[in-house]
């Protein structure tokens, strides 16, 4: 009897494994940074290079770090969603403008609206390496204790925002973006 059941059991195990394998997205790689302190940085601001944007500015606050660039199609796609989130949520969105052209980035913000409280201009892509960025757009949620709580790889949608980000927000830890 087992002679007939064993192959069937083997088949079922494989079928289940493959079924779940089919629904996994191989381009999403889990970040080793989750739960760890967010990498520190201090970079010139996009519009005002004399000013520095640094992780120290957000100590004790919950914030989003959104990695974007004007050469990135997915960033264009998610931009309206970010503007909507900036309007409706108290969490400040810090931009990391990744290997981009300063002029192009500024005119993008002027034309499409600016959801960011500040934008760090990462021309060399060194900060992006520290954050383990491997493609734009990527959005990190950093907690008030300075730890990375969540990372979303792919354009932000309202659906992702509601299901993955909002449940992780702590109302007391968020402060209304002062310079928005």
């Amino acid at each position: 009897m087992w002679k007939y059941l064993a192959p069937l059991a083997g088949f079922l195990v494989l079928a289940v494994a493959f079924y779940f394998g089919l629904h996994r997205n191989p381009s999403v790689i889990p970040s080793p940074l989750i739960g760890k302190p967010a990498p520190e940085f201090s970079l010139p601001e996009l519009r005002d290079p004399a000013r520095q944007v640094s992780t120290a500015d957000y100590r004790g606050k919950m914030y989003l770090l959104n990695v974007w660039a004007t050469w990135c199609v997915g960033c264009r796609q998610e931009h309206e969603t970010l503007v909507e989130i900036a309007r409706s949520s108290p969490v400040p969105i810090v931009g990391l403008n990744w290997k981009d052209d300063r002029e192009a980035a500024l005119s993008w913000l002027d034309q499409l609206g600016n959801p960011y409280v500040a934008n760090a201009f990462d021309a060399e892509g060194l900060v992006a390496i520290d954050w383990g960025v491997y493609g734009a757009p990527e959005t990190f949620l950093v907690g008030a204790d300075g730890r990375v709580l969540y990372k979303h790889v792919a354009p932000m949608t309202m659906d992702v925002w509601r299901t993955e980000f909002e449940p992780r927000l702590v109302p007391t830890a968020t402060s209304t973006g002062a310079s928005r």
Partner: protein, 142 residues
């Protein structure tokens, strides 16, 4: 005509090497650089190493490897730098640790299981043949 063809072929060869490979004065550093970059996966284009890839991120990571080599960091330090940021996935040769035992030993395990099954089938058949050579072989139908 032949000269033109030869020139075209040479030009094609030049184009094929368009990826900006970093070069070192010290041949030992060069060798370590080549080994490291060919063992690090480009996460933007997952089936290529950062040595082969033309992606933006790959060239940034090549520059990072070069910088760390010149600072005198060890291969392990460079690998740790990468896995701290990108996870084990960045390594084409995953580390041997309890969580990767299944990955490393699954082939041996499967070979062992297959061997035991094959051995049992053969043993059963020889027993059948020895006891009753006229009976049709049971094992064939399974």
């Amino acid at each position: 005509m032949r000269a033109i063809l030869a020139a075209l072929l040479l030009a094609a060869g030049l184009l094929a090497h368009a990826i900006d490979t970093e070069s070192f004065e010290d041949p030992r550093l060069q060798a370590r650089y080549q080994k490291l970059t060919s063992e690090l996966r480009c996460l933007q284009c997952q089936s290529e190493s950062i040595a082969e890839s033309n992606a933006l991120l790959a060239s940034d990571l090549r520059r990072q490897v070069r910088k760390m080599l010149e600072e005198g960091r060890s291969d392990d330090e460079i690998r740790k730098f990468m896995t701290d940021r990108y996870g084990d996935f960045v390594l084409y040769r995953p580390p041997l640790a309890p969580r990767t035992w299944l990955l490393w030993f699954a082939p041996a395990l499967l070979l062992g299981v297959g061997g035991i099954v094959a051995w049992r089938v053969v043993a059963q058949r020889t027993r059948l043949l020895a006891t009753d050579p006229d009976e049709p072989e049971e094992g064939d139908r399974a």
